[in-house]
């Protein structure tokens, strides 16, 4: 009897190890609980859609996605990443919305000599001095989008600017980015406690007193909607608001529901927009809308791209996902159809790409969305790439 059981388990073990060799396991760490889950859930929808679009296969390998929830918390994110790595059968780790979560978790993956692909966070240390041969970013470096916004401000002859942003890694990068390109004067700057501060009445009072030509802001996720509502309620609607990562396909439906017409026509910058005209993007946006009834967010677009990026590398290496050097070389080529059109990697494995100015508009079905109005930065590489000695 015991012998039978033993041989049965031995067969099972063999079967599972065979299955392991025939599949690629991708750990995807994102935020699936707390109020920030709305972003993670959107990314998960996009990853699921991407897997569906590739028929669940990368080359000959079955795709197996293991989702982990970072709970919007660096300690938790690190724990979950350790869990993925220690379980031993994860080939690639991807995901990460938050810069502070990524900075805490990255060493775990990189020290284990695995490939890490950020599907959102692009903190400056990982783009510059602490860049790593096995770290890739398929979104953008945090500074780039606000740098593009600074250019837009210059184009529109804004002379004085008030800056409101949260006080954490990405918030600081966003502000540094705008200040790097904006040629006018920053007349006031408030960095608020993240993520606990959700009331800006005191800051808005200061904005009114400073009387700037425009206000620049960055509040991702649920904070964005609250910020915009309070901005209008405080009577600041006459001061043009320029934002990055604050208005997106996640917040717009809620703002529309709350009848916040003040956001229509406001400007932001982004590397992508749902209206971009390329086959990959059209298929992604159309199927996402069909399946979920809403526009995908840029977070979703990046997550979707990350799966196609991995697929390109798996196919180029003939399915040898365990060969990290070969995989890295294949990933560096960025030989895949991106929803944003043309993209390539710089020496620091961050994308070199265009950034566009986008405006909030009403689509033909009455839904609020964003539309590209012009190119703010062309073929742009982040400024930290020169500090990276890869």
């Amino acid at each position: 009897m015991i012998k039978k059981i033993l041989s049965a388990t031995a067969i099972l073990a063999m079967a599972s190890s065979v299955a392991y060799a025939k599949s690629i396991n991708i750990g995807f760490v994102t935020t699936l609980t707390t109020g920030a889950a709305i972003i993670g859930v959107d990314q998960k929808k996009a990853v699921d859609l991407a897997v569906e679009h590739i028929g669940g296969k990368m080359g000959a390998l079955d795709v197996n996605i293991i989702y982990e929830d970072d709970e919007f918390n660096p300690q938790k994110g690190k724990q979950k990443t350790e869990k993925l790595i220690k379980s031993g059968d994860v080939d690639i780790v991807a995901g990460y919305i938050w810069s502070h979560v990524l900075l805490a978790s990255a060493p775990v993956v990189l020290n284990a000599n695995k490939i890490l692909i950020s599907a959102n966070a692009g903190p400056s240390p990982l783009a510059g001095k602490n860049c790593h041969k096995n770290f890739f970013n398929i979104s953008w470096q945090n500074d780039q989008t606000p740098m593009a916004l600074g250019e837009v401000l210059n184009q529109r002859a804004i002379k004085s600017l008030y800056v409101l942003a949260p006080n954490y890694a990405a918030g600081k990068d966003m502000v540094a980015g705008v200040e790097r390109t904006f040629k006018g004067k920053v007349v006031g700057k408030d960095m608020t406690t993240w993520p606990t501060q959700i009331d800006w009445s005191a800051e808005f009072t200061k904005v009114k007193a400073a009387k700037p030509d425009a206000v620049f802001t960055f509040y991702p996720g649920k904070h964005g909607a609250a910020f915009l509502k309070q901005y209008a309620q405080a009577g600041l609607s006459s001061t043009p608001l320029y934002s990055v990562y604050t208005l997106d396909s996640l917040s717009l439906p809620r703002l529309q529901q709350a009848k916040m017409t003040g956001v229509l026509g406001t400007t932001m910058t982004q590397f992508w927009s749902p209206d971009m005209d390329n086959p990959q993007n059209k298929r992604f946006v159309a199927d996402f809308k069909k399946k979920h009834g809403s526009y995908p967010s840029f977070y979703a677009a990046q997550a979707y791209d990350s799966i196609f990026l991995i697929k390109s590398a798996v196919e180029a290496t003939g399915g040898k996902v365990g060969d990290v050097d070969a995989m890295r070389a294949a990933l560096e080529k960025a030989d895949f159809a991106s929803v944003r059109g043309k993209v390539r990697f710089g020496n620091n494995h961050f994308p070199i790409q265009n950034f566009y100015s986008r405006e909030v508009v009403v689509d033909s079905n009455g839904k609020w969305t964003t539309k590209i109005t012009g190119v703010a930065l062309k073929d742009h590489q982040d400024v930290y790439a020169k500090d990276c000695n890869l």
């Binding site: 609980t33 707390t34 109020g35 889950a37 709305i38 859930v41 606990t196 959700i198 009331d199 009445s201 005191a202 009072t205 200061k206 009114k208 007193a209 649920k222 909607a225 609250a226 509502k229 309070q230 209008a232 309620q233 405080a234 009577g235 996640l250 809620r254 703002l255 529901q257 709350a258 009848k259 916040m260």
Partner: protein, 237 residues
């Protein structure tokens, strides 16, 4: 600093104070009178916000939404007390902290299952959505003045209830000596359920008032809970 900035920031502080008052009043009622440490008070605040937001979107009126959500939150509080909290009055405070912390996790997840993770944003009636010109050239959001007004009205109402009515007398009697009060024929259990319901309604009201500013969000209760404890420690129980 200009005087108008000073006054405006004063109003900002006053408005936040009013919200904290509404929230902490319920917390201190329950803690002071029933000797129950209720960490789940913030969850009731969240449930109040979600209920009012849903009703507002259904009825297309914020005021009606609040009017209908208030008794629902009262009922929710009483049911919560009846099912879950009644059994832990006799336990020590640490047990109560543990049990009500469990309630936080349970209710957060329940709200996520019912309403999804996105939260609910609600529009304000045109009358309140905008700003008012005050003396000294101050432009202040109408809605925040409305919150201050509601806070003052509730404070007066609470004072009247506790100091001038028979129910208030019973509450005070139950607070100072619950054994003696029940010996004199007061149904302490029912009274406590009512007090808890009242506390829940106040927390719910605070949640409803903040919803148009910040929108109803999972975990919004935990953000205010710590401040509320600071308020009741400073203000006395």
């Amino acid at each position: 600093m200009d005087i108008n900035i000073f006054v405006e920031q004063l109003l900002n502080g006053f408005q936040l104070g009013m919200l904290l008052f509404l929230f902490a009043a319920g917390l201190t009622l329950v803690f002071g009178i029933m000797d129950l440490v209720n960490l789940a008070h913030g969850s009731i605040y969240m449930v109040g916000a979600f209920t009012a937001a849903t009703l507002t979107l259904w009825l297309d009126s914020f005021i009606l939404g609040i009017i209908f959500a208030l008794p629902l939150t009262l009922l929710f509080g009483m049911v919560l007390e009846f099912i879950a909290l009644r059994t832990i009055y006799a336990r020590d405070h640490m047990d109560q902290v543990l049990a009500t912390f469990g309630l936080i996790l349970f209710l957060n997840e329940l709200v996520r299952i019912i309403w999804g993770p996105a939260g609910l944003a609600i529009p304000l009636p045109i009358l309140l959505d905008g700003s008012i010109n005050l003396p000294l050239g101050i432009v202040y959001p109408t809605y925040r003045l409305f919150i201050i007004l509601i806070g003052v009205l509730v404070a007066i109402g609470l004072y009247w209830l506790v100091a001038k009515t028979r129910l208030g007398m019973l509450i005070r009697a139950g607070a100072s000596n619950r054994v003696m009060a029940s010996a004199l024929g007061v149904n302490i259990r029912l009274l406590f359920t009512a007090v808890f319901g009242l506390g829940a309604m106040l927390a719910g009201l605070a949640g409803m008032l903040i919803a148009p500013i910040n929108q109803a969000q999972i975990g919004m209760g935990e953000e205010i809970l710590i401040l509320a404890f600071v308020v009741i420690v400073i203000g006395g129980i």
